[in-house]
C-alpha cells in the first residue's frame, strides 16, 4: 500500500486520516453542544472526558498529518487551476493541519493554567505540566481565540474550495479525497 503522498495521488492513509480528523472535529463540536445542554454534572463530566479524548486523537493524528504533509509531494491539482489558487489551497491545507496540532495544545495549556485536570474516559488523565497561573491562562485563551478564528476562516475557505470544485467546476477533486483513483 502506498503510505506517503506523491505527485500523482494521495495515499490511502492520508485519505483515511483526513476523514478521521473531520469525525474528530465534528465530535468535539457535538460534545461541546452536549456539555452545554447536559442535564446533570455527571453527564456533563462524561461528555467532557469524551471530548478530551477526541481532542487528544485530533492532536495525535494531526501531528502525523502535518509532518506527512510538509515532507511529501502534494499531488498535482485536478483540472487547470491558476497557480495562485493552487498556492492558496495548499497553504490553507497545511495551515489547517498545523492549527489542529496547536489548538488542542492551547486547550490543554489553558486548563492546566486554570488547574483543571484534563480527564479521559476510564479514569485516565493527561498530566498538567504547567503551573496554575491566571495570567498564563489569559494569554493562552487570547491566543486560542485568535487561532480558532483563523482556523474557522481557513476551514471555510477549504470547504468552499471543495464545494466549488465538485459542484461548479464538476471535477474529481472531492472524489479524489474520498478515495477515488483519479488518473492525472
Amino acid at each position: 500500500m502506498q503510505l506517503r503522498d506523491n505527485g500523482l495521488r494521495f495515499s490511502p492513509l492520508t485519505v483515511v486520516l483526513h476523514w478521521a480528523v473531520v469525525v474528530a472535529l465534528l465530535s468535539i463540536l457535538g460534545l461541546q453542544a452536549s456539555v452545554e445542554y447536559a442535564s446533570s454534572d455527571a453527564l456533563r463530566g462524561a461528555f467532557v472526558r469524551w471530548q478530551n479524548l477526541a481532542g487528544l486523537i485530533l492532536f495525535l493524528v494531526s501531528l502525523y498529518r502535518f509532518w506527512a504533509r510538509i515532507t511529501s509531494y502534494h499531488p498535482l491539482p485536478v483540472g487547470t487551476p491558476n497557480p495562485i489558487e493552487v498556492i492558496v489551497s495548499r497553504s490553507v491545507a497545511v495551515a489547517l493541519a498545523l492549527a489542529m496540532v496547536l489548538l488542542p495544545v492551547a486547550v490543554w495549556a489553558s486548563r492546566a493554567a486554570a488547574g483543571v485536570a484534563v480527564e479521559l474516559p476510564a479514569g485516565a488523565v493527561i498530566p498538567l505540566l504547567l503551573p496554575t497561573d491566571a495570567t498564563l491562562k489569559y494569554v493562552v485563551d487570547v491566543l486560542f481565540d485568535i487561532g480558532a478564528s483563523a482556523f474557522l476562516a481557513g476551514l471555510a475557505l477549504h470547504i468552499f474550495g471543495a464545494v466549488k470544485n465538485h459542484f461548479l467546476l464538476k471535477n474529481n477533486t472531492l472524489k479524489r479525497m474520498l478515495g477515488k483513483h483519479v488518473e492525472l
Binding site: 506523491n6 505527485g7 500523482l8 509531494y73 498535482l76 487547470t80 491558476n82 497557480p83 495562485i84 493552487v86 498556492i87 488518473e183 492525472l184
Partner: protein, 347 residues
Amino acid sequence: MNNAKFDFAGNAITQLCGVKYPIVLGGMAAISGPQLVAAVANAGGLGVVGGLRLPPLALRRWIRETRALTDKPFGVNLVPQFGGPDVFEAQFQVILQERPQLLSLFYAQDYSADMIRRAKAAGLTVMVQVGSVALAKIALAEGADIIVAQGSESGGHLNRGTIGIMPLLTSILEVAQGRPVLAAGGITTGDDVRAMMALGASGVLVGTAFIATEESNAHPLYKQKIVEATTDDTEYRTGYSFGWTYGTPHRVIPNRDKWNLLRFIGGGARAIDKPRMAKKLSLYAGQGVGKIHSVVPAAERVAQLASGLALPASRLVTEEGDAFTHAAAQGRMFVEQRSAARPLGWQ
C-alpha cells in the same frame, strides 16, 4: 513578412533533429503549447512542448494535438524537479510511448544518468539545458546529444550563477567534445543569431520572442508587456516562482504597478488565466525583450531569426580576399584562430 530568402545548408542540429533551421523554441511551461510548437515546426524550426507542470494525461494530449497540427519533428521539455520523481517517471513513460523527436531536460542532473540512457535507448535525441560548465560536463558525461548553454540573459528559470551567454557558450564549446551546443539568452533577432553562430553555437534556443506570437498560450496582456518592455526592464531574482523550489533563479519583468503580493512571484500568465494574473505577477522575460516590438505569427518569428543563419556578407567578401570589416566576421576569424579543431556553428 520577413521570410528567410535562402535555404540553410544544414548543420549538426538540423541533421540530429531533422529540421530545416537550428532555431529551437524554448519549452516554456504552459506557454509552448501544441499550436505554437506546430507553428514553429511547420516554419522549419524545432518546436518544443512545455511539459513542465503537465500531468501525464495532459502531456500525452498535448503531444497528440501537436502531431495533428504538424508532421514535422518536435520535442518535449521536462523538468524532473517539479512534482517529484513519481510525476517525472509518469511523464517520462508518456515520452517513451509517444516518442517525440527530442527530449529536452532542465534541472535534470539528479536524474539524467538514468533518463538520458533510457531516452536514447528509445531512439530519442536528448538535449540538456545548463547554465554552467560544470553542469555541461555532467550532461556530456551522461550522454546528452545536445547542450543548451543558457546565459543569464535568459527569461524564466536559470541554473544558479549569472554567467552571460558569451563566456558560457565559448567555455562549454571548449569541453563539448564536438557535440553541438545551442545558445540561449537574450536572442530575439537575426543579428543575435548571427552573433551566436559566429561564436560557434550550432543554433539557438529562443523563449521570450516566441511568447509574443499569435500562437503562444500567453495571456494577451502578457504579450503586450513583452512588446512594451525595454531592455532595461528585466530583473534577475532568486525569490519565489510558482512550482519551483524557493530561491531558484529566474528573470522577470518586475511588476511595479500597485502594491500587491503577486508582484513578488515570478510567473507566466496563460490565456486561460484571469487578466489580473497578468497584471499583478512579475512575468518571465529575457533581456532581449527590448527588441520585440510586435506580436507576430510564429512563422514570421522563425523567419526573422533564421535570417541570421545566412553567412554575413563580409564573410563572403573575406573569402574573396578583401579586408575584414564586419564585426561578426572578425569574431569568426578569432574563433577559427583560437580553436581550429572546433566545428563552427554554420558547419
